[in-house]
């Protein structure tokens, strides 16, 4: 009974999950598959950005910098022979630690100051990545990063990650993990306190929330996921360069997040898939891509600050209201 009840309430999400699991049978084109894999990866990092920007209200523009730190961490560790499965958590934790250390001074600033100071940090990361040649290989970057090591699972045997299908399931698993963590976080008391800080920091402080601690925690978790996405990216792509940490990447995540719907869980994923797919259809406009992005960003922030998800929920409310009225009318007739 419980299972049926669950299915009736959450059928849409179950359907989506089944579709996601069946996707390798639906897509045969390698190139399209690559886009889907990137969509999953960027969903993870955009979900991280959503936590600090959307739920906590602090516009961190160093997100690609932390993505880059995670990527370089995994790249260097994997090249020196450490297993991917150890390198990835280590690298994500290192990213989170650096996030903590950077958050301590920078989160004391507010509003645009925080945006600017984090942007400066992001630029420093890519300059250092380009110039610390002994460690990072300079502007040519790191090449020949090994794929994730094969996993041996009891009963199922050994899984290697040579094929795109295996790589897809890998990123999908990490995306679901990220979504799970975000869901638990956002709907907990802690998530509510993040939103309280976003809405009014002084008021949040007055009701007993420590705004600084909340902001630090949110920043650290956000950067952990940026580092995680970066680490997987490095291993799957096989090569990285300072442009992996460039602020242009942060800006495109910003577009995904705002178009998809800020401070929603589905919004970042919707944005991270919808925009690259849209861009594929507008292949002839590839040069004008950023002009379109920019114009969309301005239009969305002025006219639809809640993004696509906001549009959907408005639509849903209208439909509900419509049906509600009809039902109301029926019962009035019956009565």
């Amino acid at each position: 009974m419980a299972a049926i009840k669950f299915l009736r309430k959450k059928w849409f999400y179950v359907l989506l999950l089944v579709l996601a699991l069946a996707l390798p049978f639906l897509i045969t084109n390698r190139y399209h598959f690559q886009i889907v894999i990137m969509g999953c990866l960027f969903s993870i990092s955009t979900l991280g950005l959503n936590l600090i920007l959307g739920y906590t209200g602090q516009a961190s523009l160093a997100h690609a910098g932390f993505f880059g730190i995670g990527a370089y961490g995994v790249a260097l560790m994997a090249k020196s022979g450490i297993s991917f499965w150890l390198a990835l958590p280590l690298s994500a934790l290192l990213t989170a630690l650096i996030g903590f250390l950077i958050g301590l001074p920078t989160l004391r600033t507010r509003g645009s100051y925080f945006a600017i100071v984090t942007l400066c940090f992001g630029v420093i990361v890519s300059i250092v990545a380009g110039n610390w040649i002994d460690l990072t290989g300079g502007y040519t970057g790191v090449v020949g990063i090994p794929l994730p090591n094969p996993l041996s699972i009891p009963l199922a045997g050994e899984i290697n990650f040579q094929s795109l299908v295996a790589q897809y399931y890998l990123v999908l698993a990490f995306l679901l993990f990220t979504l799970l963590v975000m869901h638990r976080l956002v709907y907990s008391l802690l998530g509510l306190s993040f939103m309280a800080i976003r809405n009014n920091e002084v008021l949040a402080g007055a009701v007993g929330i420590n705004p600084f601690a909340g902001k630090i925690l949110s920043f650290v978790v956000a950067n952990f996921f940026a580092g995680l996405a970066g680490g997987i990216y490095a291993s799957l792509m096989g090569s990285i360069s300072p442009s992996t940490a460039s602020f242009e990447l942060t800006f495109s995540w910003l577009v995904y997040l705002l178009l998809g719907g800020v401070a929603t869980l589905a919004g970042p994923i919707l944005g991270a898939f919808a925009i690259p797919v849209l861009m594929e259809y507008l292949q002839s406009l590839v040069e004008y891509r950023l002009i379109i992005f920019g114009a969309l960003l301005i239009a969305v922030i002025i006219y639809f600050p809640r993004g696509l998800m906001g549009g959907f929920s408005t639509l849903e409310e209208r439909v509900r209201a419509f049906y509600g009225r009809r039902r109301g009318a029926k019962s009035a007739v019956a009565g």
Partner: protein
């Protein structure tokens, strides 16, 4: 930056050379930061596209000179006028609808604006760097340092521009209305100042001065579509450190940053010269979250 080789007994000359370059660099920073402090400090608009407007100014003057045969000075004036119009347009379309919204919304809108500006220049004029022909070739030797006329011109022009702007703000009626809005927006509205008009005027001045700075240094450095991003960030660093809305702070901060970069780049490491400014910002904000002379942002 000029190649300077350290030789025996030339240390002092090398140092003076770096100071000269630093003052020249600082002159452009001072002008650009001055324009930004007007809109960020006074109008409270985080115009993150300021550096990109500077870049656009350089391109406009480049094409006026090469395609339409404008002279250096006429191109500079024309570029200032065109950029003033662009500034008014951007204020109206990108920032005014968000005036009463949280600060961060304007910032995101600004990111949209800078994406459009940078990509438009790449699409229409190509990503490669270009060089504006130098109107005043030739050098002068003084105290053992080589000064090109163009560099001297930048320093002089910056002083003239800053002085003119000061006179405008302090002595003319439109200038004093800007100051009135800066001191108290509601009060200014009560005595009949049209805030929308002041916003347009401030943006026009801000972008026109950025264009002037860009045209002045364009013959020295290459111009490229990406040159605006770093400069815009540096201008923000100067404005925050010098105090939001403080004109003397922006000027002084600009010169200090120019000297810091030239001397740091000459003696420490040229590859990391852009890191100094950003590192200094993080360091100083970690001690004083509102900037050196800062007041709280809303």
């Amino acid at each position: 930056m000029l190649p300077a080789t350290p030789a025996d007994g030339k240390c002092m000359h090398l140092f003076l050379q770096q100071v000269f370059n630093g003052v020249m660099l600082g002159s452009t920073y001072a002008i650009v930061a001055l324009g930004l402090t007007l809109v960020f400090g006074i109008l409270n608009v985080p115009n993150f596209a300021h550096g990109h407007l500077y870049m656009l100014g350089a391109y406009v003057s480049f094409f006026l000179m090469t395609l339409y045969g404008f002279g250096f000075w006429t191109a500079l004036i024309a570029s200032m006028v065109i950029l003033a119009l662009v500034g008014i347009l951007i204020e109206r379309v990108v920032y005014r609808p968000l005036r009463d919204k949280p600060h961060i919304n304007s910032f995101i809108s600004a990111v949209g604006a800078l994406m459009i500006l940078e990509t438009s220049v790449i699409v229409f004029w190509g990503p490669q760097g270009r060089r504006i022909p130098n109107p005043y070739p030739g050098t002068v030797e003084l105290l053992g340092i080589t000064m090109t006329y163009q560099r001297l011109l930048v320093i002089m022009a910056a002083i003239v521009l800053i002085a003119l702007l000061q006179i405008f703000i302090k002595k003319t009626t439109p200038g004093t209305t800007i100051e009135a809005v800066a001191q108290n927006r509601e009060g200014a509205m009560l005595v009949g100042v049209n805030v929308n008009w002041v916003s347009s005027l401030t943006f026009a001045i801000s972008t026109a001065t950025a264009a002037a700075a860009a045209c002045l240094v364009a013959p020295i450095f290459m111009i490229s579509p990406t040159m605006g991003a770093l400069l815009g960030m540096k201008a923000f660093v100067i404005v925050i450190l010098g105090g939001l809305g403080s004109i003397p702070g922006a000027i002084l901060g600009g010169y200090i940053l120019g000297l810091l970069e030239a001397i740091g780049g000459g003696y420490l490491s040229a590859a990391y010269k852009d890191v100094y400014a950003f590192g200094a910002l993080i360091l100083i904000l970690s001690i004083r979250p509102t900037g050196l002379f800062g007041r709280e942002v809303s």
